[in-house]
């Protein structure tokens, strides 16, 4: 008598055999085109908003950051003539797709432009550099033809005031003069370091042979003086390592991971540049994080959040944990409950130096807590923040609905907005 399970198994094998995966390059190209479509749509929406009522709303919602040189000035930008040899400006509708800051005056951005031909879309990218937070200078990205074959898919990593790396899937270039000159460097780690030098970025790499991040992970250090990658000699003995790229506001290097013996989620912190790690368990919570815990903080309090799958929301906020003893012990101050806001989190939480905790949500609403994350209320005093990012100079984000308007806050108390490109 034929066995249904055996037939199902054979059908499964037949179906798997009938599926042919396209080349990875085609998926990457699709990803790039998807990004281009979204940027174009955002740009089109921004064009409508900028001539509508949104501008007065933005101007009253964000308070300008006091500037010792010009008090009360809000940053405004217009790109100037690029430096260097003959350079072809980008065509098509330009869009900024990567911004990284060293501090609120020194930053870098990637600006792309795509031309859709009959057969395919061709994209070019250029680097934008600012040294005063106001004027942005276009610079060529490293490529012999002046364009990039990988289109708008460069990634940017800032390693210092003038040190940066740009990387496409298998290429990496390093500059130590803010993009005036570049040199090609290897992508693979070539050495081991005992400590994380100032300005370096921390990443994880799974020591994978057959599966994904199920063995002990490695921490990799992107070195600021060379743009090369080194392996950190001492990693926390955890799996599924998810490090913060830079130190949090309390000065600690934070890494979340899983205890291989118990499967329990843990947080590790190093206060000696990665030479040693203190590992603490965190309170259990409901839900599975997409990628570990994100840590932000001030010298007074540190917060860890996890985003994960919640019904009906994008980037559901699963939990908020707080520590007031440098990470030795953690309190679960907030956990996802039916209908309780904030239900989602866009980017990272914002730990203000005045003691508030701000959570920007995927719906656009901003929530603030004055009791360490136990309760939240809608905050309309600042305006919409969109996805919040933590850079070495503070918190940054793209003003929702605009492709080129950004905001910056060093401490969650002072705010400024600016235009890029």
């Amino acid at each position: 008598m034929p066995d249904l399970d055996a037939e199902l198994e054979t059908l499964r094998e037949d179906l798997l055999d009938s599926v042919r995966a396209p080349e990875l390059a085609a998926v990457i190209d699709r990803s790039r085109q998807r990004t281009t479509r979204r940027r174009t749509q955002i740009g089109a929406v921004a064009a409508v908003l900028l001539v509508g009522a949104a501008i007065p709303v933005l101007r009253t919602a964000l308070r300008p950051l006091p500037d010792p040189a010009a008090p009360g000035t809000t940053f405004s930008v217009s790109p100037t003539t690029p430096t260097g040899p003959a350079w072809a400006p980008a065509t098509g509708t330009p869009f900024v797709y990567n911004i990284r800051w060293y501090d609120h005056q020194h930053g870098f951005a990637l600006r792309g432009s795509c031309d859709s031909g009959a057969a395919s879309t061709t994209c070019t990218s250029e680097l934008l550099v600012t040294e005063d937070g106001e004027r942005w200078h276009p610079r060529r990205l490293p490529d012999s033809s002046g364009t990039t074959v990988t289109g708008a898919n460069w990634e940017l990593a800032v390693l210092g005031q003038n040190h940066l790396v740009v990387q496409a899937p298998t290429l990496r270039y390093f500059s130590e003069d803010a993009g005036e000159h570049w040199r090609k460097v290897p992508v693979e780690p070539g050495q081991t370091v005992a400590a994380i030098p100032p300005g370096a970025l921390l990443e994880s790499r799974c020591s994978v042979v057959t599966s994904f991040c199920r063995d002990l992970g490695e921490l990799l250090v992107l070195l600021p003086d060379s743009g090369r990658t080194a392996t950190l000699a001492t990693s926390p003995p955890l799996t599924h390592l998810a490090p913060g790229q830079i130190p949090a506001g309390d000065g600690g290097w934070w890494v979340s991971g899983t205890d291989p013996a118990t499967g329990r989620l843990m947080l590790a912190v190093s206060r000696d540049a990665g030479r040693s790690w203190t590992i603490s368990p965190v309170p259990a919570f409901t839900g599975t994080p997409f990628s570990g815990l994100t840590v932000v903080g001030t010298p007074q309090a540190v917060y860890a959040t996890a985003a994960g799958q919640l019904a009906g929301v994008k980037n559901g906020l699963l939990v908020i944990l707080r520590s007031i003893d440098g990470g030795k012990t953690w309190e679960r101050t907030w956990q996802a409950a039916d209908g309780a806001e904030p239900r989602s989190i866009a980017g990272v939480p914002l730990a203000a130096t005045d003691g508030r905790l701000l959570v920007s949500t995927e719906t656009g609403a901003l929530y603030a807590s004055v009791d360490g994350g136990k309760t939240f209320a809608v905050d309309r005093s600042i305006g919409r923040l969109g996805s919040v990012e933590w850079h070495s100079g503070g918190y940054f984000g793209n003003v929702p609905g605009s492709s080129n308007y950004y905001w910056y806050s060093p401490d969650g108390v002072q705010w400024a907005r600016f235009i890029v490109g």
């Binding site: 059908l11 599926v19 995966a21 994904f212 990628s291």
Partner: protein
């Protein structure tokens, strides 16, 4: 940046399984491939986050399921607008088990989804429940009824229990 190499490994090893998972909701293998490619394209834009996820495959499946549901809603709306009642027949895979494949296609949407996810995409019952957002018990009962229906359609006597993994 190291996550780009990781992404390539994930893609090579998991693409086909993701197609089968999407197939549970599309009933069309070509459309399932389209959804799987879109899910990987989305994952590529977020590869740093996906790389450090505890279950990258689950992340991809969630994206694929959401894409499939969105397409189904659009198609249903168009069907109503255009007064379409008969969907075009889905393409059939090559192989010797065409009767079984047709029997699976003939199941109702709910029962086909659990069969494809559990038996063809090889997912445990609790993951099937998570994907479809239904209780584990409901998955098991639908699997049992679906298997009985398949067995009857193929003239089998049921001898295997539902996998309780």
């Amino acid at each position: 940046m190291a996550d780009q190499e990781w992404f390539a490994r994930l893609y090579r090893s998991y693409y086909r399984q993701l197609v089968l998972a999407a197939y549970a909701l599309t009933s069309d293998l070509g459309e399932a491939e389209e959804i799987a490619q879109e899910a990987f394209a989305i994952a590529y834009t977020r590869r740093a986050r996906v790389a450090s996820a505890e279950h990258p495959e689950a992340w991809l499946r969630t994206v694929a399921v959401n894409l499939a549901r969105r397409r189904w809603r659009r198609r249903s709306m168009l069907d109503r607008i255009l007064l379409r009642t008969e969907p075009p027949p889905p393409a059939e895979p090559a192989g010797d088990h065409l009767d079984l494949h047709r029997a699976i296609q003939a199941l109702g949407d709910e029962h086909r989804a659990v069969v494809v996810l559990h038996h063809l995409a090889d997912l445990p019952v609790d993951e099937v429940a998570s994907i479809l957002d239904i209780p584990v018990g409901t998955v098991k009962s639908r699997l049992a009824r679906a298997r009985a229906a398949l067995g009857a359609a193929l003239g089998h006597t049921m001898i295997a229990e539902v996998d309780h993994a």
